[in-house]
Symmetry: C2
Subunit: 404 residues, 2 copies
């Protein structure tokens, strides 16, 4: 029997009747070679329309009802897509979360998938019928409707692919793949033929929002290769591979970056065991995500402790640190929201010591000062003054020959 | 414990956020005195919007998908109404057909209700939560979504009322009750305080489309009193009672009428047993509804046989009768679509012989010729030339003092 692939189509891909017809043609072609399972988002604009309706009854609508309401968007697009396929001679059936028992946790609007009944999907395939599944939603044990949070349809697609042992999950969107960096900043940015999941996680976490990070993590955990491609134009897209299958993979895959960050530095903290925990635990307790964390070696028992958060959390973190002042001794607190982060991502970093120095040299040549350096196995992160961000991205993109 | 009532709100009643808020207030008030179960239609316009989307993929969309698509309309209004209730301090929960196991037959777009799981509804009431149920839809044994056909929400409401032994089913709509006749033709028409189900069936069948005839039949079968009232203005509406509970009920409840009919008369048919069956059976086989049927006593073994159908079926009936000509002997066929039907409806007809002659006298005074007379226990039907219809309705309305 032919392989099973899961095709997921986002909101812009099914944003109108013409787009739905175009997607039906894509499915038709794939269906000639492989057995296809489809996952769809709501038509673009529909979820926002429904949210708008809900907001007329207050800013904090009942979460159970909110999920029941917005989950109708995917039901509409799934049925329409099934009709579009029928109209071109392809047998298709829509399935809601309840119809395939897509069980999730009870947390409305951010539920997590627990289990799926793959039987209906496989039975449908066995009859030669393309199953069209509503993304983004599930049901609780007691039958209430839940949603997985924005972008959750990617996660639905990967979860189904993992569950029915699909050979690949194709995520169709309005961009044609993953690029070496944002083409709006570096017009020479190149589309990657493939990227490893680890690299993709580092790229996605930095704002390369091609595919939801949760979906990539899920794909990583269950070994499902993902391909990101466009439903608007032909092309092979970018394969997010399970491992470095391709020896020709470049050392460096891309340059990621992020603005709107705030850097906190606690000067002259007493360097005693557990100090990092003492500082950051109250921040984590408020569910504020801490990004870069740097602590240098101490001098005379004192050290400087620096971390960054999203700028929207700046005020709350300030308040936490001031309340803590009695517990943690430090000389003074420096708060700087005039920064940006640029990261070099690539599997080559772990094995190639020359990469860091090449990056430093290139930035120095442009007089860009590096405030913080942080490294991981496959990523080198640099915090710089915000105004230099675009220049830094272009400089690094060129230094590592990513435009070639 | 207080009585349970079912309140059903139609599309115009929940047609906007303001309307939904108004409906929430109606429910809140009722909820102070009784335990309330709510059934809702889709917001007015929504079902047509969804049908429009479906039609872009051909005029005959897959029926399973069509039902799955349009059933989302009631899900949206049910969730929004639950939110509106929460926002004014009333606990409420929406339930889809699948969540209350509203089982139906498999006939998509005209499914019939088989069974309901009332436990979730009753459990919700026991917790002090108002259940808001999606009208118009159900699920098949295998979990596919079905719809009951236009106006099916009335039937949903009555079926639920019957199942959970509600004391009454209140149908909220955009008219404030059942009138003695159409106020557009007779401005003096009066709202009835009550009407029996039998009378209502006769009125509804004749085009008084206040409440779906299927729902009234259902209510009749399961002894559920219905009240028809407006969600736009205060008032007691019209009670459709189980029997003539009110001795003050008028002899005559109203004047119903219908246009766009075609009358077929077979002249000089041989009057032998089974002739009516022979003539009408092929018509019934094509699922064409036959309305008035009249056959007078025969003279010399010959009789005239007359029946009426909706004008839209005229051509097909003509064809059937011409094909039949070889089997049934008749002299000639008269086809007349220049007719209308006016009916006097009232429980008093069965016991009061003077009603027919009073009607004949009143029409004669206006020179309106009566072509056909047909009587039932509670209805006197007259077929007249179409141009006299409005005059006949006004004349009869006045003759029976319905404006008093």
């Amino acid at each position: 029997m032919s392989d099973i692939i899961v095709q997921k189509f986002g909101g812009t891909s099914v944003g109108s009747d013409e787009r739905i017809s175009a997607v039906a043609e894509i499915i038709k072609q794939a269906n000639e070679k492989e057995r296809v399972v489809v996952v769809v988002s709501a038509m673009s604009g529909e979820t926002n329309r429904l949210i708008g309706l809900a907001k007329t009854f207050g800013d904090n609508p009942d979460t159970r009802e909110f999920d029941a309401l917005i989950s109708t968007g995917e039901k509409v697009s799934a049925s329409l897509l099934a009709m579009a396929l029928s109209s071109i001679g392809i047998k298709a059936k829509s399935f809601s979360a309840s119809q395939i028992s897509m069980k999730t946790t009870n947390q409305h609007s951010k539920a997590k998938i627990i289990d799926i009944d793959g039987d209906k999907i496989l039975a449908s395939l066995a009859e030669g019928i393309v199953p069209i599944i509503t993304g983004f939603q599930g049901i609780t044990e007691s039958g209430d409707i839940t949603t997985l949070g924005r972008g959750g349809s990617d996660t639905t697609a990967v979860a189904i692919a993992a569950h029915i042992k699909a050979s690949r999950c194709d995520i169709y969107t309005d961009v044609d793949g993953v690029y070496t960096t944002d083409p709006r900043i570096v017009p020479e940015a190149k589309k990657l033929k493939s990227i490893t999941m680890e690299e993709m996680l580092e790229m996605a976490g930095q704002g390369a929002k091609v595919v939801q990070i949760r979906a990539v993590e899920f794909a990583n955990k269950y070994n499902v290769p993902i391909r990101v491609l466009s439903s608007f134009e032909e092309g092979e897209g970018t394969l997010i591979s399970l491992k470095e299958e391709n020896m020709e993979n470049a050392l460096i895959s891309g340059i990621a970056f992020q603005k709107d960050l705030t850097k906190f530095t606690l000067h002259s903290v007493s360097d005693k065991p557990g100090i990092a925990y003492e500082i950051l635990n109250p921040v984590n307790d408020k569910e504020i995500g801490v990004d870069v964390i740097v602590q240098n070696v101490s001098v005379n028992g004192k050290t400087d402790f620096t971390f960054t958060v999203d700028s929207e959390d700046e005020e709350e973190v300030k308040k936490i640190l001031e309340d803590e002042r009695t517990d943690i001794e430090f000389e003074d607190l420096e708060v700087d929201n005039n920064i940006a982060k640029v990261s070099i991502v690539g599997a080559g970093i772990r094995s190639n010591a020359g990469i860091a120095s090449k990056a430093f040299k290139a930035l120095a040549a442009e007089n860009i000062n590096i405030q913080i350096i942080s490294t991981s196995e496959i990523k080198l992160t640099l915090v710089i003054e915000e105004k230099y961000l675009e220049l830094a991205v272009r400089t690094l993109h060129k230094a590592f020959n990513l435009d070639k």
